[in-house]
């Protein structure tokens, strides 16, 4: 039983058993991840890639084993293509500043969708301001989809980069990443995927997608906070400007001239989040042992169950009804504001997210100030969704 693997589930909130339905914000951590992180600080506590002493050798080995696990997780060609960052946000900013900034000119375009998280909007606004390039947005349909034909309609040789989420955090919509990449490549553009919500829910294969860049976070994949991954095709990462200068990213330094290290160290200046990276490796092991395809299938069943359960409540409207979704149920109620819903269901021990989900343009698109969002993790059960439905009944009793 997966639930026993997650110590945080073993607690009460306001006298009720915790029902955690906010995994899209951050997933709970299994004991094996907590143990892996603790072990770094309790035992293998050393800096990596530096000293010859035994502790440093152990830490370095575990760190690089995590890189290999991450490579295999994404089906990347080489560990040189796996750069550790502080999260998806830093990974996208790295591409924006180290790759896009030197490559964009006035008149060039960056294409995003109307479904993006702020972290896949603002870095491009910044780099467009710096370079004179233009940010172009593909609109979202009423179902919360960004169809390939609408993307194609915005693509021409002026577009140098397409940056889109693989799965929407606000609505759960799954994008046809391989289809997007094919369209982008046809006009000579590179393509970046924000995979923060995809990595925990669907098998990701950067080779099959033919992604140029792919970013995801450890903490949404049952791993620690403060660690993320940037996959980039080797030739693109090699051609990038230095992202940050410092230790580890150099081969030799003199005041006259500095030569840089090879990938991936070139893009990983400074002491990294060693415990975080090793914890991420443990999280990948955990998820792989469960089987990503099996987890996806189970979650799809639960999503169907939850969709029907919510739709059966009078006055509830689901926002985001794409054909292909992961376990995200964003909704509004006609009788209550999402913020009031969040407070009332919390009193019943049910943790959901309320607000704009760092996707204000999505809220604007659907002309709502916010949504309530229940999101699924591998520990959730139909009983969790039943508890949500009961708690929403309480909302209706108070506000209806």
């Amino acid at each position: 039983m997966s639930r026993a693997d997650f110590p945080a589930l073993d607690q009460q909130v306001h006298g009720e058993p915790l029902v955690y339905l906010d995994s899209a914000a951050t997933a709970l951590k299994p004991q094996v991840v907590i143990d892996a992180v603790t072990n770094v600080y309790a035992r293998d506590c050393a800096n990596i890639h530096r000293a010859v002493h035994t502790l440093s050798q152990r830490a370095t080995k575990a760190f690089e084993v995590s890189r290999e696990k991450t490579r295999a997780f994404l089906n990347a060609g080489s560990t040189q293509e796996i750069v550790f960052t502080s999260g998806t946000t830093e990974a996208i900013n790295l591409v924006a500043q180290a790759w896009a900034r030197p490559n964009l000119r006035e008149g060039d375009r960056v294409l995003i969708s109307g479904l993006e998280h702020h972290s896949n909007i603002v870095p491009w606004q910044i780099v467009c301001r710096q370079t004179g390039a233009e940010l172009v947005v593909v609109p979202v349909t009423d179902d919360g989809e960004v169809p390939l034909e609408d993307i194609e309609a915005k693509l021409d040789e002026r577009v140098k980069l397409v940056a889109m989420n693989h799965v929407s955090n606000a609505l759960g919509t799954v994008q046809d990443a391989a289809g997007v990449a094919k369209l982008a490549h046809a006009v000579g553009a590179k393509v970046l995927f924000d995979g923060a919500q995809a990595a925990p829910h669907i098998p990701v294969d950067v080779a099959a997608i033919d992604a140029d860049f792919y970013a995801f976070s450890g903490h949404k994949l049952y791993g620690p906070t403060g660690v993320g991954v940037l996959y980039g095709k080797k030739a693109l990462l090699e051609a990038a400007e230095p992202y940050q200068g410092g230790g580890d990213m150099i081969r030799s330094v003199t005041f006259a001239k500095t030569t840089y290290a090879d990938l991936p160290a070139y893009l990983e200046a400074g002491t990294p989040n060693i415990a975080g990276v090793i914890g991420l490796g443990a999280a990948i092991d955990y998820v792989e042992a469960k089987g990503r395809a099996a987890l996806h299938e189970r979650e799809q069943e639960l999503l169907r169950y939850g969709t029907e359960a919510l739709a059966s409540i009078p006055g509830v409207r689901l926002i985001g009804t794409a054909k292909h979704k992961v376990g995200v149920l964003s909704f509004v109620m006609d009788c209550a504001h999402p913020h009031d819903i969040g407070t009332i269901v919390d009193a019943k021990g049910v943790a959901i997210r309320t607000g704009h989900h760092c996707a204000q343009p999505v809220m604007e698109r659907f002309q709502i100030p916010a949504t309530a969002r229940a999101s699924l993790g591998l520990y959730n059960t139909p009983e969790d969704l039943d508890a949500l439905v009961r708690a929403l009944g309480e909302v209706r009793r108070m506000f209806g």
């Binding site: 504001h337 809220m363 100030p369 506000f399």
Partner: protein, 147 residues
């Protein structure tokens, strides 16, 4: 849960659903815009001041029950009072919802129904949005956010 009932009292639910002074003033002397980016609450507050006297006050916008009820109650409490009194009540109100100091609940009168907010730190910004917007309107600032 008692704290929940304390937060969503009948009075608050009523003012959340049927806000008072929820209208536009044709010739306001002071206007303030408030925004809570965390939950998307927006409020436009209009005042008619005659010297130190608050002749009229109304608001429009969209928000949760707490922020709407708070704005509604604030307008009812302050119309007919002086700006000096309003500023003093603002201080008492902020102390009460933040659970700080010893606010004068008698002086706050009807506004005391929001005392339960102090048990919900994430909702303090909802209750204070209208009041911060009032300050902005009085000081002639363009917009205020509670983030």
């Amino acid at each position: 849960m008692n704290e929940l009932r304390e937060l969503y009292q009948e009075y608050v639910l009523d003012h959340g659903k049927n806000p008072r002074n929820f209208r536009a003033i044709e010739h306001p002397t002071h206007v303030g815009e408030g925004y809570n980016p965390l939950c998307g609450d927006r409020i436009t507050l209009q005042l008619v001041l005659d010297g130190d006297d608050i002749r009229d006050m109304a608001f429009q916008g969209a928000g949760c029950a707490i922020s709407t009820a708070s704005a509604s109650t604030m307008t009812e409490a302050l119309i007919g009072r002086s700006v000096t009194e309003a500023r003093a009540m603002l201080e008492e109100f902020l102390q009460m919802v933040k659970g700080e100091g010893e606010p004068d609940l008698d002086a706050l009168d009807k506004l005391a129904v929001f005392s339960g907010v102090s048990e919900f730190p994430m909702r303090v910004k909802c209750a204070t949005l209208a009041w911060h917007t009032l300050t902005a309107a009085l000081e002639g600032r363009e917009a205020v956010t509670t983030e």
